[in-house]
């Protein structure tokens, strides 16, 4: 808890330092990392805590992003209205998709969540009213009186506050009755049922909560970039979120956040800071950040199966 507080203080001070160093770009970059951290953490709740390998988490991020963007396009400028709406709609989507998907297990669950997400991807692609495959652009960020979300520092603090609340909530939930039951179900589903836990209901609740958080991340993403396109629902986005969780640490509190930070930083630094000798060898390599990400993922999976969080935290969780 002390370490977490120290970390929080560091992140509160970060934008001030970046501003002093005239590195404003990184304030916005950090906001983006934290938004992805929200989304990846919500997936980690499903994957690491609930033991469900969902390959369609982008559907809920996308639902939230589109809900917020469409509301903005229709004149709802307040984030106080749009973001809760995004959360509710994403939770609803998760309830519908989860209610069907959770009747399957293993590889079928992976496939059915993927299929649902792809259906939603094609659905928003066909929303000609709202940009179709070109997406929706907003002229500015939503309003959130008394905050000015247009200000990068203010936006940063909003994202930081939401991420901090989410991580604290996850910490609590995992130790509360609900989290213990979920952990039991992950370890041994049949046994959990045999001592009286309604397994399906727990899984669905977990799936819906994660969907709601992903929806919030989506709304933030749309606000942050002032733009949303069907790409946020594409299956590769679900894959990116999965990679973040695996990189960071499946089932670890910090896994999603660490994974998001490492993955986005890798992509950014590879693309924007070409290494001269490497560029001479392979002129286009900066466009293929995925190659480096793949190498890092391989290293983590082989050398640190519990992810980066597992490397940092020793002794391991009992």
């Amino acid at each position: 808890m002390k370490k977490a507080l120290a970390l929080l203080v560091a992140f509160v001070l970060l934008p001030l330092a970046l501003r002093a160093l005239e590195q404003d770009f990184y304030i916005s970059f950090a906001s983006r990392v934290m938004i992805y951290a929200l989304a990846a953490t919500s997936l980690n709740f499903v994957l690491g805590y609930g033991g469900m390998i969902s390959f369609g988490h982008a559907a809920f991020v996308g639902t939230g992003a589109y809900a917020a963007a469409i509301l903005f396009a229709e004149g709802v400028a307040s984030a106080w209205l749009a973001w809760p709406a995004a959360i509710v709609l994403a939770a609803l989507a998760a309830a519908l998709i989860g209610a069907v998907s959770l009747r399957t297990r293993g590889v079928y669950f992976i496939m059915i969540t993927l299929a649902f997400a792809q259906m939603m991807f094609y659905l928003v692609n066909s929303l000609k009213m709202y940009g179709g495959d070109e997406g929706l652009t907003a002229v500015r960020r939503p309003e959130a009186w008394p905050l000015d979300l247009g200000d990068e520092v203010a936006f940063y603090y909003v994202a930081l506050a939401l991420l901090a609340v989410l991580l604290f909530a996850l910490h609590r939930v995992s130790r509360a009755r609900f989290g213990r039951a979920l952990d039991a179900i992950r370890q041994n589903e049949a046994r959990a049922e045999a001592i009286g836990f309604p397994v399906y209901r727990y899984r669905l609740a977990c799936f819906v909560i994660a969907g709601a958080v992903a929806g919030l991340a989506g709304a933030l993403l749309a606000a942050h970039g002032k733009y949303v396109n069907p790409g946020v629902l594409h299956w590769t986005q679900s894959g990116t979120l999965l990679i973040m969780v695996i990189l960071g640490g499946v089932g670890s509190l910090w896994g999603g956040a660490l994974g998001a930070a490492v993955l986005l930083s890798l992509e950014h630094f590879i693309a924007d800071y070409p290494v001269p000798w490497l560029a001479a060898l392979a002129p286009n390599y900066t466009q293929h950040a995925a190659l480096a990400v793949g190498a890092v993922l391989l290293a983590v999976v082989l050398l640190a199966p519990r992810g980066i969080a597992g490397l940092l935290a020793r002794p391991p969780r009992a």
Partner: protein, 247 residues
């Protein structure tokens, strides 16, 4: 206590339960024996609610529970153990048992209050741990237990749910003589406190523990009676027990 009425369940052409009718009286240890493939595990599934019968009824304390799911039956007061040990390997003995107590008491849709602060859960868990002889192993993760200890935890999980009827599916499976002896003592100590339906291969144990024995052959109960009656029953002898009993 428990009544099975003409339960039928088949897998393809094989009738694993071919009209099973059986009554278990309260407070008794009722053993179910039968050769391999007689349908014992199928019957356990039908009673526990993990399998649905094609026809017939399961009555528990006079109430028809045929349509209840497995977790609903646990709340009704009927819990099972598994033939192949099935516990929560990452949790300690105490945490395993506390989880079963948690499933019984109050809502588990509680998202904020740490379980560790719930003294009552752990007090009950420790009591069950002592009852099944794991009092001194309560702090160990389940995966660190010996086979015999894990089998005891398996029974403890059923007890901790507060069940009035325990369905024990071959609790002595894979045990050495010493562990078997302890398990027999454990089950004997349950008599009068909970009703036990015991499915077991170990004939010594069955004849020492059971108040009544039912013999299942090819999905049918061919005989039910006190141990002596079963021993003397010529039909049972020829169908199954013959040599083992004569010895």
């Amino acid at each position: 206590m428990l009544e099975l009425k003409a339960l039928r369940k088949s897998f393809g052409a094989l009738a694993a339960a071919d009209g099973v009718t059986l009554e278990v009286r309260p407070g008794e240890v009722h053993a179910l024996i039968g050769p391999n493939g007689a349908g014992k595990t199928t019957l356990v599934g039908l009673v526990a609610g993990t399998l649905a019968p094609e026809s017939g009824e399961v009555l528990f304390e006079g109430r028809d529970i045929t349509a209840l799911s497995a977790h609903e039956r646990v709340h009704a007061g009927l819990a099972r153990s598994y033939q192949v040990t099935s516990v929560f390997p990452e949790f300690t003995v105490e945490e395993n048992l506390a989880l079963a107590v948690q499933a019984r008491t109050g809502s588990s849709f509680s998202f904020w209050r740490p379980v560790a602060a719930e003294q009552a859960l752990f007090a009950q868990a420790r009591a069950v741990a002592t009852q099944v002889g794991l009092g001194e192993r309560a702090g160990l993760p389940a995966r660190a237990l010996s086979h015999g200890e894990r089998r005891a935890l398996e029974v403890g999980l059923g007890l901790a749910t507060g069940a009035r009827l325990l369905l024990l599916d071959e609790p002595m499976a894979g045990m050495g003589p010493e562990d078997s002896r302890r398990m027999v003592e454990l089950i004997a100590a349950l008599r009068g406190r909970v009703t036990v339906l015991l499915v077991e291969h170990d004939m010594d144990a069955v004849f020492r523990l059971a108040d009544h024995i039912s013999v299942l052959v090819a999905g049918r109960v061919i005989a039910t009676g006190a141990p002596d009656e079963i021993r003397a029953n010529p039909q049972v002898r020829s169908a199954y027990l013959g040599e083992e009993l004569a010895a």
